[in-house]
Subunit: 189 residues, 2 copies
Amino acid sequence: MRLLEERIVRDGKVRDGNVLKVDCFLNHQMDIQFFGEMAKEFYSLFQDDNISKILTIEASGIGIACITAQVFNCPVIFAKKSKTKNIAGDVYTAKVESFTHGGTYDIIVSKEFLKPSDRVLIIDDFLANGSALSGLSSLVKDAGATLVGAGIAIEKAFQHGGDVLREQGLRIESLARIKSMENGKIEFC
Amino acid sequence: MRLLEERIVRDGKVRDGNVLKVDCFLNHQMDIQFFGEMAKEFYSLFQDDNISKILTIEASGIGIACITAQVFNCPVIFAKKSKTKNIAGDVYTAKVESFTHGGTYDIIVSKEFLKPSDRVLIIDDFLANGSALSGLSSLVKDAGATLVGAGIAIEKAFQHGGDVLREQGLRIESLARIKSMENGKIEFC
C-alpha cells in the first residue's frame, strides 16, 4: 500500500535493535482517518471471505482492528495478555514471545467468543518474528474456527516470521513489507 | 443512554467484588456497530468543544476511543501502562491504582503528542474509583493542554470516583451510571 509506505518513510524512525518507531500515527498516537484507508485496503483483500470475527491482540492492534471491523460489519475480539478478574475460567490460551518487551507471556481469549462456525480474520499492527500471529492462529485452531488469514499493517520481512507462517499455509496480507532498515534507511520488498 | 442501559441489563453479569462483566460487547469482544451508537452520543455531548485529540488508556478504552475519534475526526492517543523500548525518554507520567487487577502502575504518554494547544477529550470504558481518569487528567494538565471533559461508557456511581472528580471541576459524561448492583440486580441512577 503506497500510502502506508510513504507514511513510514515520512514519519517512521529507525532505532537500535531493528526497532521501527511509528508511534506518531500507528501505535501510540493513532491517525484514525489513515486507519480508515488501511481498513478499506484490508476489505478489498478479504471482502469475499465471509469474515464473521476479527481477532487482534492488546494493545496496539485494537485500534486498527476496530476501524477495520466497521468496514466488515463484524465484532472484534482482542486477546488479553494476562489473566484478569474479569475473565472467567474457560479460555483458550497460547504463549507469545515479545519482540518489543523481551520475555514470554500468555495470551487468552474466552471460549464463548470463538466458535467453530466463526470465520476469523486476524488484524495486527506489526509482524516481525511471527510469535504473536502464531499464538493468535493457535487460539483460532483450538476453537475449531476457520482462520481466513491475517491482515498486517507493517511486516518486517527481514525477520522472516511471515515467511515461516506462509509456508505453513497461512494467508498473510501485509500492507507494507520492509526488506531492510540498515543504517536507518527503510527499503520495501 | 437507554440503549446502553438495556444492553447492560441484557448481557452484563455481576460478579463477586462489585465486578460487572460486560466482556461480550464492551471490553473483550467489542460490538463495533454498538460502539458507533455510543460515539454518536459522545459527539452530541461534546460537538461544540473543538476537540483536537482523544486520550484513552490501554487496553479496553482503545476501541471506543477510536470509533469515537472517527466521528470527531481527530487522532487518538492511548496512555501506555509500562515503559517499552518503543517510547523514547520524554514522557508525561502518572500513577494509577487498578480496580480490576489490584496494585499500582504507571501510565505514560509521549510529550510530543500532547501540546498546550490541544483540546483533549478523555474516553474510557469504565469509571469506578476514578484512579485511571485522575491519572489521565494529570497527564493533560502536565502538558498544559485543555481538558475539555471525559466521556465514559459505564460509571459505577456507587464507587464515587466520578463524584470526587466532578467536585474538582471535571466535566464527566457517563452514558450509563450504575447506582447499585446488589444481589446481582443492576439499578441505574
